[in-house]
């Protein structure tokens, strides 16, 4: 018999729920709000059969471009041949998690704004740029 390349082929382990986490999903998944421009991770919840993305998108991170009643539109990069296409998919909220990839820069923005405001109050000019680690001296070995 031929191999079969259906929509959910080769997803026996990928879409399986983790050990001892089968059954009902926690309610906090449904209480999260997503705004356009947020970064989200796509992670399939095998127990919710509706609104599942294709297995390619499992583990990808993208930005929200649309919010509907029960689903989120996510823009994900996909390499097709010799180019990368920004693909727009719609995924139900159960298969989406807020991504922490953007968290660090958002915190840094906030802190830098505070530092700049303080410096302005003092009348100084400061640079909030990150500096790369320079060559190490013998003392630091």
């Amino acid at each position: 018999m031929p191999a079969g390349h259906g929509l959910r082929s080769r997803t026996r382990d990928l879409f399986a729920r983790p050990f001892r986490k089968k059954g009902p999903t926690p309610l906090s998944i449904y209480l999260r709000t997503y705004k356009i421009g947020d970064y989200v991770d796509v992670k399939v919840n095998g127990s919710i059969h509706k609104g599942m993305p294709h297995k390619f998108y499992h583990g990808r991170t993208g930005r929200v471009w649309n919010v509907t009643k029960r689903a989120i539109g996510v823009e994900v990069n996909k390499q097709v041949g010799n180019r990368i296409i920004r693909k727009r998919i719609h995924v139900r909220v159960e298969h989406v998690q807020p991504s922490r990839c953007h968290e660090e820069i958002l915190q840094r923005i906030k802190r830098n704004d505070e530092l700049k405001a303080e410096a302005k109050a003092r009348g100084e000019v400061i640079s909030t740029k990150r500096q790369p680690k320079g060559p190490q001296t013998l003392a630091s070995w």
Binding site: R20, P24, L27, T33, T68, K69
Partner: protein, 300 residues
């Protein structure tokens, strides 16, 4: 042989997945809860309120609750044990009391949101199906009925509370199929019967039948009613008065009790290691003494 086979091995426990805590306690139906709480994502942070009605053996709890990740937030609550403040002393878990509790909660919440003048609701309870009409300035307060784990049969008291809240002015999507007095054959709500239930007519009827047929059972069953001097005819009057008092001032009354200075202990205090050792030595001595006494008796 029987015992060995029934053992639960270590592997069984390692692989056992417990259900959610409130499912183990049998208190929450998560399938229903997901559907009640789920808010459209394109409504973002707009709260979705549920009108929660729960019955205990001696009380009725009605709450307006919205869900959040930190926990459910209660907007307003009304209990049947508050009804004595409004003039209802007995029968605190019947259909009429459920109606009063729902009405109390609705008026309380509307007052809190300063919508109580716009949305009077149905002042005269007639038992027919009443839905709030939108007023000019603000849309009515919308909430969804949450019955919990109750079997929703026709005439259930949760629908009494629902009717109370509807007449109080809340906007709750419903149908009259489960109100007391709905007839399956004619597929219509008999408003007279429903009105009877709201004013305790079914209780009054039972009281009169018992008084005629079994006066002793009447004395034992309705002893509290007799003590308060309530007759079968006076029930409707009483409930009408309670409704008007509720509408006049639905704000909760603060109780005058001070919290007790010393915290009462409800469970046994845990003993320290020395105390437990001492207890054991005492028990062993007692056993030995008793055994010694038995030996003496046997010798004799």
């Amino acid at each position: 042989m029987v015992f060995v086979k029934a053992q639960k091995s270590k592997a069984y426990f390692k692989r056992f997945q417990v259900k959610y805590k409130r499912r183990r306690e049998g208190k929450t139906d998560y399938r229903a809860r997901i559907r009640l709480i789920n808010q459209d994502k394109n409504k973002y942070n707009t709260p979705k309120y549920r009108f929660v009605v729960r019955f205990t053996n001696k009380d009725i709890i009605a709450q307006i609750v919205s869900a959040s990740i930190a926990g459910d937030m209660v907007l307003g609550a009304a209990y049947a044990h508050e009804l004595p403040h409004y003039g209802l002393e007995v029968g605190l878990t019947n259909y009429a009391a459920a109606y009063c509790t729902g009405l109390l909660l609705a008026r309380r919440v509307l007052k809190k949101l300063e919508m109580d003048d716009e949305y009077e609701g149905n002042v005269e309870a007639t038992g027919e199906d009443y839905s709030v009409e939108p007023a000019e300035s603000r849309r009515p307060f919308r909430t969804l009925l949450d019955v919990g784990l109750v079997r929703t049969t026709t005439g259930n008291r949760v629908f009494g509370a629902l009717k109370g809240a509807l007449d109080g002015g809340l906007d709750i999507p419903h149908s009259d199929k489960r109100f007391a007095g709905f007839s399956k054959d004619s597929k219509q709500l008999d408003t007279e019967v429903h009105r009877k239930y709201i004013y305790g007519g079914h209780i009054a009827a039972y009281m009169t039948t018992l008084m005629e047929d079994e006066p002793e059972k009447y004395q034992s069953h309705f002893s509290e009613y007799i003590k308060k001097g309530l007759e079968a005819d006076g029930l409707e009057e009483m409930y009408k008065k309670v409704h008007s008092v509720i509408r006049a001032d639905p704000t909760p009354k603060k109780s005058e009790k001070q919290p007790p200075k010393e915290h009462k202990r409800y469970n046994l205090k845990k003993l320290t290691y020395e105390e437990r050792k001492a207890k054991l030595i005492e028990r062993l001595n007692a056993l030995n003494a008793a055994a010694g006494a038995d030996d003496d008796e046997d010798d004799d």
